[in-house]
Symmetry: C2
DNA sequence: TTTAAACAGGATAAATTTATCCGAAATAAA
DNA sequence: TTTATTTCGGATAAATTTATCCTGTTTAAA
């Protein structure tokens, strides 16, 4: 569904969000450990999220990553997916046609439109705060 | 969503189905041309579909690929996707956790379950005959 | 029986994705 | 100011996916 990079990105963002919600900044090392991802690769992904202003990075001692708390409810999964994988997953044609649309549909166009739309809606309405709260309360988990 | 190989596989299967429905056998060359795919790579994918008894291959002059007509309504998109990409796309966890389930859900488990289920249902209820008929009638298209 | 058409499948190459390494830059604390 | 910590970002490597090539086998027709 999503690329590995995107999966790491989603997990990392949720972990950072859960901590930022408590005023805690977290380091790359801590993130990689908690979401069970390769450290250096995760660094690359966090750089993308930082460039896109999804997370804030701070260098030096006691540095790390955080998300401004007022942003927690305005960053949606779609923002993260779009930054890393692009939006083809919920916009493109199911069988990869360049020119697939209502007037010129591929054979599975109508069926896939529903799935893709429900995916898009989900990603565009799920923000980091709700995910972070679930993790924090122990309702859901980020690893194993 | 699907791998390139799987996209080619779906298109090829629909094209073969549309022709088999009219009693016509089609060659690799003809398939690749009509679905706009690389010939040698498409051959590999058709080998997979042949091994899985989804399509029948015939060697030699006038050979090619066909699908037994009685099978057209019993081969579903899920069979093709499963043969090429496996079923992780509509069974696995959205963020790649090994042990994600109701009792131990990832943060996006519930939301994704719906999308994945609708995808699974779609793939498991759409058979080749209906797709082939749409292509044949000009209601939908396989390329460009 | 010879020939040409067509798929099978192993080997290899190209492209992309995933992952690692390392020096540079920034920053807070000693 | 020095030092230790931590992210940044370029280079490189490993793994996977996508794509090509070539030889062998099958088959029908000449």
């Amino acid at each position: 569904m999503f690329s590995k990079a995107c999966e790491y990105g989603i997990k990392a963002a949720i972990y950072i969000a859960a901590n930022s919600n408590e005023g805690k900044r977290v380091s790359l090392k801590g993130i990689a450990k908690h979401i069970d991802s390769p450290e250096a690769f995760t660094a690359k992904i966090l750089q993308i999220l930082a460039r896109e202003n999804i997370v804030t990075s701070v260098r030096g001692i006691n540095g790390g990553f955080e998300i401004e708390s007022h942003k927690l409810e305005t960053i949606f999964l779609s923002d993260i997916v779009k930054a890393i994988d692009g939006d083809n997953i919920y916009k493109g044609c199911g069988i990869g046609l360049k020119d697939c649309n209502e007037l010129h549909p591929c054979p599975i166009h109508d069926d896939f439109k529903k799935v893709r739309n429900s995916l898009r809606k989900l990603l565009e309405t799920t923000h980091l705060k709700q995910l972070a709260l679930n993790v924090h309360s122990g309702t859901s988990f980020l690893r194993v």
